[in-house]
Symmetry: C2
Subunit: 495 residues, 2 copies
């Protein structure tokens, strides 16, 4: 979930000042309302060393009434704490109704440092994740709000910050050998973090990743998230005006949301000759691999999603052009028919799951639930919110069976889309490809973008990651898909 | 969950006839309403070979409109099915909205025969249970009703039935070598079944164990359960009269519910001399074991629950009389105070969880949630219904840490209770022990019994089983508790 996130985002000083003060007032007001309505609030801060947890927690609590919150620092467990189940020390610190508990690191330590240090076997990691999910679900069922932040910085920025702390003789003591060791293990922690985020993201206690290179950006995102989650919970807790309910549902401002698509290097391109040469080679290789996975009974699922006119059809054709038709199938997904509508939305996709040794290519997929169905209101908010977890669960079940999963998001920018729409309308034999609906969807680009970025964030998992395919140049896109499929299958075969 | 269940229950022919016909009519009516309201219904039959699944499924579908249901026999997976994730073949058979699917064996096969045959590693068993829970939750979130039956017969009855089938030349073919092999493995299947029931019992898809020695009893229980679950779901789905809602909430008739307490052999007793002799020996042994678990850092939790005047206090005193006070603690649980009420109901118990090497004895416990709080209406129905799963999750977390758990239900009959109440009132120095509340509770004995039997059934797990302690004779009860604690700790130390 972290890989594609844009970490460069910033907020200027002036903008920050203007926005921060009203947020302080709102937050203080919500704290009072949570107290009145007896809603317990749990705010978790996880993140890289030197990501700024301390500073940001301080920013957050300053506007609060100090009688109404506690900050719990979760150091490595003491001897006393080690003698009990790991959730014990957190259970006893859960806040009473109406109070706020801020956790500086938390129960997630077990899935991060304990895991990377090798103190936990894989089965124990899974058990810990299961216990954490139960713990959070039990608290939320009881009325609590759980807000979880992961403060994300790059390895390079972490290095810079640690070095700066070490240079200053007043802060030198803060950087321990352990910190430097963890810094060197950044890659191992990244994997553990990805799995943690995927395994413990839920509709009742979702994760918010905070891009923490810029403190002001991070602070605004944290404030807005806390305010939005509290508003949503408090508006559910009692009668509120329609205006308040709408404000609660709106979530955090667009400019603070996870940004993945804005930084995609769409300028990447491939010249015709190079393309032709590579295409031939890659297509040959994919056919070889098709035979090999057949022999080894490995199933493969390939999901294509992307903007209208991003070139899904042509891309799929290049992927399959040279394949043995007995080994693969392309499943185009349109609006569900009556029989499909009468079932669980996942049912029609289950029917198409490949058997071992075969490849199924989905031209659009179950992700419709969190894109078109969300944006067009074809399902309720509760339905699309819980769909992220449902989809992750299903994909994990399929991946656990041994399936290699690819999910491609074919990305183009609005200008390129417009060019393609117009060209489709001009060329007679391409006109069927463009409908009024395409133009209508285009008007909702912003709503779709929000939905797509949340989808890419919440459903990019270690077992079924998203690959963003820069598709302004169709040739580049086709080769990238072929490369990704080849690499992924080869990696599996090496195991 | 199976161990203590009374399997001897029967229904006479006349009673059956009288009750069955109205049930047929009700069931047919509910099928029509489920169709109108577009509620999909999934009915799962699991159980021992020769438990009568075929016959009972047939009984169930006879009154139904054949256009509205399907029966799916889940044989061992075919070659085709084996090539896909194990839930695949069940997902594609989930019924459309408004229809009923009856599964003759189901996705639980993976936790039973696949597991006992050793096809699954322990980690895979856990993963399968996790996937099943997600699967069922996803369907229920989507509006489905899932009703799960386990048909239970004893090993002796199974043997008798299999032999009878083999003697008859028309039915001989039905008993395969596999059946006989599974019969010989009854004990292994019992363990697997216990774990399956505990691990996949949930508030959205709870298990119903059907005592299947008597076909008429089993049929009535199945009909009543299906009717009650459908009513509850359909009354939630739309506006219903208060009368209908009350009927829906009432559940199945008392005489068909799991019976555990009626068959407890309360006549068991111990003479004074034998008691004294054993008591001394056992108390010495418990003290030795207290030291040994301290050295080995094994925590022990002992929960005492039981009827008023069942003798909890005296029993605990005999258990602890000879112990080293630094190694154990008795925690008496009264009504929660204000601070406790402001937290999750489990919070106050978490605070008392023993550290490794220590023993904590709870005199009453978190089980108040599903007894007094349920019966007296101190919590909502939704709250006590989900508490079974919450308690199982918490106990599993504690047991996974290495804690040895004992849960004692001190059982006496109402006559003995009355005798003790009256004697308390007569004897001056015992009078403080009896309050008006005790007399009030006594009037609600039936409601408590229902709650207690459901508790004993739903929270008796392989990692934290209930022990029913026959306490009409206090001496017998004290020795039984000592024996159970000694055996349990010794078994752990042998590992």
């Amino acid at each position: 979930m972290l890989k594609n996130i844009d970490l460069t985002r910033k907020v200027g000083k002036k903008e920050y000042k203007e926005q921060k003060e009203p947020l302080d007032i709102k937050l203080a007001g919500l704290q009072r309302r949570a107290f009145e309505k007896k809603v317990p609030v749990i705010i978790v801060f996880e993140g890289w060393d030197a990501a700024g947890k301390g500073t940001l927690i301080n920013d957050l609590i300053l506007p609060l009434d100090p009688r109404g919150f506690t900050v719990c620092s979760s150091l490595p467990p003491t001897e006393e704490e080690r003698l009990r189940p790991f959730l014990w020390r957190f259970w006893i610190k859960t806040p009473p109704r109406g109070r706020i508990a801020v956790f500086d690191r938390s129960w997630y330590r077990v899935l991060l440092s304990d895991r990377v240090d090798g103190n936990l076997k894989p089965a124990e990691v899974r058990r810990a994740a299961r216990d954490i999910l139960s713990f959070e679900r039990q608290l939320c069922d009881d009325g609590a709000v759980i807000i979880k932040f992961f403060l994300h910085i790059s390895k390079a920025v972490q290095k810079r910050r640690l070095e700066k702390l070490r240079r200053d003789r007043f802060t030198r003591w803060r950087v321990t050998g352990e910190d430097m060791k963890r810094h060197r293990q950044y890659a191992a922690y990244l994997t553990a973090t990805e799995e943690m985020l995927a395994g413990t993201d839920s509709e009742f206690a979702p994760w918010t990743v905070v891009e923490a290179h810029d403190r002001r950006f991070a602070a605004l995102k944290i404030f807005n998230t806390v305010i939005s989650r509290l508003r949503r919970r408090l508006s559910a807790a009692g009668r509120t005006s329609r205006k308040k309910a709408a404000r609660a549902a709106a979530g955090i401002p667009e400019n603070l949301r996870v940004s993945i698509l804005d930084r995609v290097p769409l300028e990447q391109a491939l010249a015709v000759e190079e393309y032709r040469e590579r295409l031939k080679k890659k297509q040959k290789r994919v056919r070889e691999l098709e035979h090999e996975i057949y022999m080894k009974r490995i199933p493969v699922v390939i999901v294509y999603e992307g903007w209208d006119a991003a070139g899904k059809g042509g891309n799929i054709r290049r992927l399959t052009q040279n394949l043995d038709p007995r080994g693969y199938e392309v499943v185009p997904i349109a609006a569900p028919n009556d029989i499909e509508l009468a079932h669980h939305y996942l049912w029609r996709f289950w029917k198409e799951i490949p058997k071992a040794g075969h490849i199924t290519i989905f031209d659009r997929s179950w992700y419709g639930r969190v894109m078109v169905e969300r944006v067009e209101g074809f399902c309720s908010e509760a339905e699309w919110r819980r769909a992220y977890r449902e989809i992750n669960e299903i994909e994990q079940h399929i991946a656990d069976f041994g399936t290699v999963m690819f999910k491609f998001w074919l990305h183009i920018d609005p200008e390129e889309q417009l060019r393609r729409f117009e060209s489709r309308q001009k060329i007679a034999h391409k006109r069927w490809k463009i409908t009024d609906e395409d133009w209508r969807n285009r008007k909702k680009t912003r709503a779709y973008k929000t939905a797509i970025e949340e989808m890419l964030f919440r459903t990019s998992t270690p077992y079924a990651p998203w690959t963003i395919v820069e598709s302004n140049c169709k040739r580049f896109a086709r080769i990238k898909v072929l490369d990704t499929v080849i690499d992924g299958i080869e990696a599996r075969l090496r195991h």
